[in-house]
Symmetry: D2
Subunit: 349 residues, 4 copies
C-alpha cells in the first residue's frame, strides 16, 4: 500500500524538505496505524542532516527523519488487543525480527535485523501517519502528554541504563556527561532508587539547566572548576556505587575506577569513537563490573508508568517547540542548539 502524506524528508546531506511523500506500508493483522502528534529531534536526526551518515549508515536515498514520537491510534489490525482506535500512544521505534534468537532471548534490541526509524534505509516518523506493530505501541495514561510520550524514547535509554545497573535502594551514582542522555540517565538513576546522583560536565549551560530544574534530584559537578576526584575528596565521598559513563569521551575513562567503591559497577552508555583504555588491575582490586547498553528493550511501560506516577517530571526537558510546518527551522535550531536547550519538539496537527 502506498500512502501519500506530508513528511519531513532528508533528500541528501544538508537538504531537508517538508513535502508530500509516498510511503510503501502494509498493514498486517498485528499492526496499527497512528496519527503522529509530537516528535522530538534527536542528535542522530541532526547528524544525518548535517553529515548524511552515522558510521556505516549512509543516507543514499530520500529518508523521512524522526524516531521519538507519540500520536493517536487511527486503525488497528484484526489481531490487535492492546490498543484501540482513539488511544493516545507512544511508539518504540526499533522493530526486530520477532522470531530471531535475540528476540526469543529477550534481547530484541540486539537483533541485527532491527529496523529502526530514521536509520537508513528505514523511514522515520516525522510524517502524518505511520503503520507500526501494535506490540511496540504503548498507551499513554491521561496525565501523560504527547510531549511526554515523545520523550519516552530518549528517557528509555536512561531507564535501561538504570535497570541494567541493578540499583539497590539508597545506592549513590555518578553520571559522567550532562548531554541529553546524561540527563535522562541521571533522572532514571534517581527514579531507580539512588539516594544521591552526581553529574559531571564541562558545559556550564547544561549544568545550569539541571540546577534550575532538578536541583533536588541531581547534584552537578562543574569540571571547569574542579575534577571529580577533587570534588569527591572535598565532599568526603569515598566512592559511589555506580558510575554511568554518558559522555562518550575517552578521557572519561581516566581514573574512572577511583570513583567507585569495592564491588561497584560501571554502566557504559556513551559511545566513544576509539577504544577506551581500561585499567584492568584497578578494576580487579575492587572487583568492578561493567554493563553496556545498546538502545533498550522492554523499557517503555516502565518509563511511562514512572512519568505517570509523578515521580519523574520530564516536562522541563522540552525547551523549545516548533509546529510541523516549521520543521526546517526546528532542525536549523537543533543543529546550532544552545547549551541550555535539551530537547526540541515538533508538534504535528
Amino acid at each position: 500500500m502506498e500512502a501519500g502524506m506530508k513528511a519531513l524528508v532528508l533528500e541528501e546531506k544538508n537538504k531537508l524538505n517538508l513535502r508530500d511523500f509516498s510511503v510503501s506500508e502494509t498493514m498486517g493483522p498485528s499492526d496499527v496505524k497512528i496519527a503522529i502528534k509530537a516528535c522530538g529531534i534527536c542528535g542522530s536526526d541532526v547528524h544525518y542532516y548535517t553529515n548524511g551518515r552515522i558510521g556505516d549508515f549512509v543516507v543514499e536515498s530520500p529518508m523521512i527523519l524522526g524516531h521519538e514520537a507519540s500520536g493517536v491510534v487511527l486503525e488497528t489490525g484484526a489481531d490487535v488487543k492492546n490498543v484501540r482506535a482513539g488511544d493516545r500512544v507512544c511508539m518504540e521505534p526499533g522493530i526486530p525480527d520477532f522470531t530471531s534468537g535475540e528476540t526469543l532471548r529477550g534481547m530484541y534490541n540486539l537483533d541485527p535485523a532491527v529496523r529502526f526509524w530514521a536509520t537508513p534505509p528505514i523511514h522515520g516518523c516525522l510524517r502524518e501517519t505511520v503503520v507500526h506493530p501494535a506490540s511496540f505501541c504503548f498507551t499513554l495514561p491521561d496525565n501523560v502528554s504527547f510531549h511526554e510520550g515523545a520523550l519516552v524514547e530518549p528517557l528509555a535509554i536512561g531507564f535501561y541504563a538504570a535497570k541494567k545497573a541493578r540499583v539497590s535502594p539508597g545506592d549513590t551514582a555518578l553520571v559522567i556527561g550532562a548531554g541529553t542522555i546524561g540527563i535522562v540517565t541521571a533522572l532514571a538513576a534517581g527514579a531507580a532508587g539512588c539516594s544521591k546522583v552526581y553529574i559531571a560536565d564541562i558545559k556550564k549551560g547544561k549544568l545550569d539547566f539541571i540546577n534550575q530544574h532538578y536541583s533536588g534530584a541531581i547534584q552537578t559537578i562543574n569540571l571547569n572548576e574542579t575534577s571529580i576526584q577533587s570534588f569527591f575528596s572535598k565532599n568526603k565521598i569515598t566512592g559511589v556505587d555506580l558510575v554511568f559513563e554518558a559522555s562518550g569521551s575517552i578521557k572519561a575513562y581516566d581514573g574512572i575506577c577511583d570513583y567507585l567503591v569495592p564491588g561497584g559497577r560501571m554502566i557504559l552508555v556513551g559511545m566513544p569513537s576509539a577504544p577506551a583504555p581500561l585499567d584492568v588491575v584497578a578494576m580487579q582490586v575492587k572487583e568492578i563490573s561493567v554493563e553496556t547498553i545498546f538502545r533498550y528493550a522492554n523499557i517503555y511501560p516502565l518509563a511511562i508508568n514512572t512519568i505517570a506516577s509523578g515521580k519523574l517530571n520530564v516536562k522541563p526537558l522540552v525547551t523549545k517547540c516548533f509546529p510541523f510546518d516549521r520543521s526546517l527551522e526546528a532542525f536549523e535550531y537543533a543543529a546550532a542548539m544552545p547549551e541550555r536547550d535539551v530537547k526540541i519538539m515538533i508538534d504535528l496537527d
Copy 2:
C-alpha cells in the same frame, strides 16, 4: 566491666521497672560506647512485656528492652576508624559471630550465633549507655534526627525487602498488610523505584494514616470495602510485578498469585503462625519466584542515605513521644496502641 545505669528492665512478664541496673560489658578495641538518645518501641518489645516470650525466646531473668536506637558516641576503642566521640549515630542491633560462615558469605543476619538486643538473654538498649561494635554504628548526617536514626531499624526491614525484590525502575508493587512493617515496606518499595505501590489492609486507622501522610507515594486498598481482586479489576490492573506479604496472615496467601504478572515475584516479610498454602501450579504458569527475608543485612547505610536525601520522609511515622522517665507509660500506651499510631518513641536525656 560492670556499668551501673538507669535502664528499662523487664523483670518478668507484665512487670516493667525503670531502675538502676548493672550491665556487664567489656569494651574491646573495635567497640564504641554510646549514650542513647532515642529508642523506638517495637512490637516485639511489647510482646515480651505482655507475654514474657516470643516462640522459643523466653525472658527468664531481668532483661533491658529496646533495640531501635540512636545516640551519641562517647568513647571509641583503639582500632575504631569509622566513628569518633561526639558523632551522632544509629546502631544495628544484631551482632553476629564475625568469623562465621554466614558472615563471610555476606549473610551475617542468618548466623545462628547472632546476639540481638532485647532478645533473651541479650539486654536491649533502653538505658543510658551501651557498648557496641563500631562496624554496627552508623553516622547520622546533620539533617537526620535522632528520631529518624532510631527509625532506621524498622525501616531497614522494608529496605531489605525492597532490595531483595530487585525492583526494576517503574515496577508496580502490592503490599499486603499495613502495620508498621507493611508501611515501611511500601515506603521502601517506592524509594526503590516502584512507580506505583498499593497497600491493602482491613484496619481503617492505618489506611487513614497512610492517606494522610503518604497519599502521593502509596495507594490504599480498604479490604473492608473491596477485595484486592475486585480493586484490581475495577482499576484495570492486570497484575503487579511485586507482592510484598507483610501481614503474616495465612489468608493473605489465598489467590496471591493472581495479583502478579508473569515473571512476578513475591517477597515474604510477614511471619505466619502456621504453614501457608501455596498454589504451586498457579506459581508455575507465571514462573513466580519467592524471596524471604530475616531481619536485614548491610542495609543501614542505604536507608540512612535515603532518609538524608529527602527522598523518603519517615518523620510522620513517629506518632507519639515519651521521655525516658515515662517509659512505663509509653509501654502501656504501646500495648494498647490506637490504629492510627505507628511508632512510639522514647527520648533519653
Copy 3:
C-alpha cells in the same frame, strides 16, 4: 494446505488409531517442513490417551499425539537461514505469539497464546511430516542421534530447572522424585556444576535404574528405607544448596526447608494437585528463595551442546523402542510402564 499422512490419532479417550489424517498446515517464509524420525512418549501423551484430558485441556476432536521429536528437514521457507534441507534437527514443541509481551521479555513459554504440540486442540507430531517455525528447529551435531534429539524435550525441563537454580560450581543438590523429570533434573543439575546430586524416591525400580546407569553422577535415597532427614544426618550432610521438587507430591513439602543450608534455594518442578503447605518462618530464618518453572525457554541449544560434548549421556534413558506401525502397542506399554523404564521411543521410517 491440507497434508494427508499417516498419523497416530487420539480419536477420543482410550481410542487410538494409526491412520491417514489430513492436517491443515500453511508453510510460511520462516517455516520448515520436517520428516519426523523419532518421537518419545511423554506422560502427558499417555494421560490424554487414558483420561481424555489434563485439567482444562480436553480432547474434543481427533488429535495427533506426540511432542518429543527429532527429524530431517525436507524443505525450508524463503527467509529461513538457520537450517537447510537435509539437516537433522530436533524441534521445540511450543510456539508462542512471537509479538507478545512475554515473548519480547524472553519468557515466551509464559505467553498464554502458546500452541503446544499434542495439547488440545493442537496436533502433535507423531506423523510423517510437520511444518514448524525454523527458529524452533535446532540442528543436531553428527554425534547426536535422533533418539537423543527426541530426548532434548524432556531434558530441556531439567536443564531449565538447573538454569533457574543458578548453580554455583560445587553446589550440592537434592532432587525429590525419581520419575523421568526427576532423573533429567538430577542429570542437568550435575551437568550444571553440582558436585553432589541426591535423588529421593520410594520407587525402587527407578532408583535401581539410576544406580545402574548413573551411579557416578547421582546418589539415590530410598525412601522406603530411610527418610531424607535420617539419610542426611547419618551421612553428616548439614544441608544442600538446592532442592529440586520433582515429585509433585504435597508430602514432599513437609520439612523441605530442613534440607537446605542458609541462603539455599528451592526449585519447584513437580505440579502438585493441591496447594502445598509452605513453612514460611522456616524459609525466613534461612532466607530460602523459591523458583518455579513452566516448561522451558531458550534451552534447546544448551541441552544439545551438552549432549554433544559427551558430558551428559542420555542414551540409557531410552529403555524401549517401537516402530511407528506398532505405536498402539507402544502406548499400551507406556500406559503400564514398568518402574525400571524411563522413556519409550517411537521410530518413524
Copy 4:
C-alpha cells in the same frame, strides 16, 4: 608466643634459606595450629624470590614464602567447632579484618586490611606449623590428598572466575592464556557446566600438557598456527558465551568482543601491566558485560567438593615434587620451569 621452627625464608631478593626461624604467633580461641604437609609454589613466590617485590609489595625483611598449603590440625582454640585435632585440612591464605564493611558484605577478599600469606610483610606457610583462623581451614574428605588440598588455592581462582561468570549449563567458553591460572580457569569453567571450553596460547608445551591430560574437557587453540578468529571461522563457531582473559596480555583485548555472542560476558582474570584498550562500541552492540576478580571469596568448600566428587581431576597438575629439605632446588626449578610443568609441590614431613 614465639614459635621456632624450620622455614623457607626469603632473606632478600635472590637469597633463600631453609633455616630455623622464630615466628611470633598468638593462638586465639577461634584459631587452630596446623602442621603443614604440602605446599605448592606459586608464580608470586618465585617472583618475590627473583625480584624481591611485586608492585608496591617489597620484601624488606626476611619473609617465609608459600601460600598454597594443606596440613593436619594439631590443636584447636576453645571456640573452634568446624575442625578437630587430627583433621586433614587446607587453608585459605588471606585473612581479612572480620568486622570490616567488605567482610560484612561478603567480599572479604576486597578488604584492604587482608593479611595474605607470603605477601610482605606477612609470613607464608613453607614452615613446620602455622596458626590460622579456624574459619579459613577446610576439612579434606578422605579421597582428597594433601597435594590436591594444596592445589585448592590456585584452583579457587578458576572457580571464582567461573562462579562470577554465572555459567548457564551448556554455555561455551574461551580461555585466553594457558598458564596455570588459565588451565584452572578452563577446568573450572568445564566443572561449572560449560559444554565446550577452548583455551588459546602460544606456548606449545602448555597446550601439549592440556591435550595429554584434559583433551576431553578442553580444546586447545595454538596461536602459533592460527588466530582465534580464524579458528572460530574454520570451525563455524559464531561466538562463545563467555571469554575468560587469563593471559594478562594487552594484546588479548584486541578484537576480544568478536569472540562473544550477543549478551556474552568477559571475565578478566589476568592482570595486564598497562591499561587495556576496550572497544566500548563493540561491547555495546552486543551488550557485553565484564566481571573482574581479585583472588576469591567463599570458594574453598565448592572447590573441595568438586575435587572430592571426581568431576575434576587436578592430580595431573602436580608435575614435579620436592621434599621440604630440597626447597631451594624446588625454587631453582620453578624459576626456570619448563613449559610442560604446571605446579611444583613441596612435601613437608
